[in-house]
Symmetry: none
Subunit: 124 residues, 10 copies
């Protein structure tokens, strides 16, 4: 998937209604599916997004459509997880965000990737 094909533009945001307050939102997406670039077989996983929004929040229906856009995309676990991470951070510029991707077994082997981001000035 080239950057030009990035579905980042599908992610819509709305103004954080309470930007003066730190609050945490956790979103669980158990129906993520993409395609293995090596075998062409579909992969399945659960994405768990936890973040403290800053000036904007991601809109949930657009998140659903954004994640569905990976349905027929071929990408390694490491690539797709970090790409989604990049898109979420780029679009919402959050104070803090963690993405955890739990993939179902393939060949008797299962994998989970966890990545997190702190905005400068928001480290714990």
């Amino acid at each position: 998937m080239s950057e030009a094909d990035s579905p980042r533009s599908l992610l819509e945001t709305f103004e954080n209604p309470y930007p003066n307050r730190d609050y945490v939102m956790e979103t669980v997406c158990p129906e993520f599916t993409s395609v293995c670039p090596k075998t062409g077989q579909p992969d399945f996983g659960t994405l768990i997004i936890t973040y403290i929004p800053d000036q904007v929040c991601f809109e949930l229906k657009s998140l659903k459509l954004y994640l569905q856009s990976y349905r027929n995309v071929g990408a390694f676990y490491e690539d797709v997880t970090n790409r989604i991470m990049d898109d979420l951070v780029a679009v919402t510029d959050p104070r803090w965000l963690e993405l955890r991707a739990e993939f179902t077994p393939r060949g008797g082997i299962s994998s989970t990737i966890t990545v997190s981001h702190h905005k400068a000035g928001n480290e714990e």
Copy 2:
């Protein structure tokens, strides 16, 4: 929902019978429902309110009626959670309050929002 339509006035309080003592009350409301402003579909969730009252306590039947007033109101999760937070804090001015809102899945995606408030001079 404009501020003028706020159901905050539905929240009744009574004098904290033991204001000289810090104690914690946790209230679980599993029947919260409002309406998605984007789709017009009903949303459902469980609200968990935990607080240390200061001079007043919220009255439970008025809390029930207050929460029921959201039944046909359209609001994003982030908005409705913070609005209820604001109303609970404004009306009870508690020493500490945490609100956790767990929403049921929509489009295969579920969200939980957690927000907390410390009165000045009551930080841990």
Copy 3:
């Protein structure tokens, strides 16, 4: 319930047989019932009393009769919990005591109150 009507005198104690040692006693009372002062309807709850006795211990049969005396008394959750707390502390003067009151749902909403007491010189 005026202070004059307090059932505190029902609570009997006996000499702590091992006052030189800190030990913890937890007592679970799942059959507490009183009356809602607003609706006249009965309330039900479980009280969990945990304490480190000092010079005296409360006697369990007297505790049962003491709690039964609330059967037809009207009081808010916050009031009745703190009143029982006060009575237990006044009568046993414990080194530490925690009272947790878990009330059954009313109008789809359930509440739990937790309050604790440290005798001066017994803080953790």
Copy 4:
């Protein structure tokens, strides 16, 4: 098993798509089997590999084939665990890697071996 017979060359890698970011990948392999060098009987176990990749990632299908190459190899638990550790570290040169090997019971006794590696300059 002599070093010459090492299946290390089966492990393939690909370029870490996000080398500028520390992220954690956990891979669970519940179908590991080798042979006890003393009895000639098969051993069974679960391998859990957790690592922060540096410049390369191990490719999962090659990991599966690499682990399958132990199917008819005779080696003690301690030997096989450390040998796999060595191969994973040699091939991926990770910032951090932990290998946990949980073997099924033999003669009513079960064993688990855990070993970890920090690249110089990546200690916590």
Copy 5:
């Protein structure tokens, strides 16, 4: 609710794609809510519909909208359950249909209603 106000017309059907075969479909709707005609308070429940379609099937999105139409309707449990039963039977004329309605507690009391229908000539 008069018959004229019945939301029956919201229920859409489509031609059973396999009418020559008996098959069973079970649909679970955990977000049903209506209003108590006596107290004006909202009721909540889970509806479980199990049926063998004959010539038509109910369409699931229309079922959702049909059930949502009860959101602000006042009706006793017995009435609303049988009314939904009547509508489902009238619209789909199924070979067999069972409706189970599990309502959440009110005043410390919870209720479940079960009703079933066999088309003439389809008794077990």
Copy 6:
């Protein structure tokens, strides 16, 4: 409790909205309490009422008030269970009714009583 003191009159009914159909309603009442006639101590229990209504249904709020009327009444388990059975049958004249009363332990001993009624012509 003499028959004259019977709270039977508290039980209100409403016309069965669907008398032409056999359906089953199960009602669970976990907050029943009465008084032991021998010791004067409160008893607690859960009542489970299952019935097929005929021409009338019992109204749930009146059932709650009816059951609350036993709060300070002294009666043996066998007596109170059968008395409630008689009242439910007398007031609703159901096609079938089963009452199960599960009492909490007293003196380390717990009891459950089950009784059922078939209207003539409705035996299984």
Copy 7:
């Protein structure tokens, strides 16, 4: 234990308040204790009594005292279970009665005895 020492006389009954109706009462007694006649060690068990009373019911406090009278009695499991069975049947002459005695482990071995009685003319 000779028959003369039998504690049968401790069992009190009261008139069945509803002799015209078959109903089932199950009583669970988890604190039964007696003494092993061979080792002098205490035995512990749970007795479960299920019966359909005829003209009289056993009174629960007298049952508790009756069972407590075995505290220092030496008797084999088989003996004590059947003796209690005989006493319950002799005193209440029930339509049906089942006694299940579950004894806790001794020397790593646990036992359960089940015995039942049908009054002539009450067989299933």
Copy 8:
């Protein structure tokens, strides 16, 4: 999906190695996904196939590819379940086959379809 587009041809079989014996094979496929023809949104479900093969067995890798061919196909639950049923029966002509399809929630509503087939002369 017209019959011409049917992926039935993807299903490969091999000769039943033991046709003289009745045996049962149950296959669980938790990663089925297709598309809702009304909303264009992806559906997810688990298929459970249980059958007694006659002269041929379905080959599992071809079953996987066959089911994956529904990934971008729009079809109602009832249609897709019966279509898969038809394909499995047509290709394997089994002595008996049951298909159970459990779909994940959509709009807060979840559905399960069960269908079975007996070859003439193989009824139970």
Copy 9:
């Protein structure tokens, strides 16, 4: 183990105190151990004995000693289970007896043997 070495004589009985009544006794022995005759390794298992005694009962302490006598005896599962069965039947001549022996895994394989006996004239 020759018949001459049989520990049958360790099994003591006592007169059934209630021979006129059919009652069931279930005895669970989770600490049985013997030796594998092939490998010399210890075997472990749980024996569950259920029986209706006739004229005599086995005495539990003697059962324990009897079972302990197998501690250093080498015997196959099938042999030891049936031998114990024979001994129990020979010594108590019961109306009915079932023995279930659940052995713990050996070489990754676990076994359970169940055998039962009906005295002539006591078949179900």
Copy 10:
């Protein structure tokens, strides 16, 4: 695998020590592994053998070695299950035998095969 390569000869038996009695033995083998003939990948499964021996019993250590002989054998699930079935039946000629083979997921799909055998004259 040709019949000539059959590991049947590895299965050893010993004389049934109690051929005059019907008894049931269940043996669970959770560490079965073979190779997929199509992909060359290892398969893993649990075999559950339940049988009533006639004149001979299979010896458990030989069963383990027999099952281990499939470690590098390529065979479809249906083939390997029925082949083991045939071998067990041929070698032990049991009164009754059931084999259940539960295979771990491959490509997100898992399978279980169940087959049983009754000796002529031993049908239920």
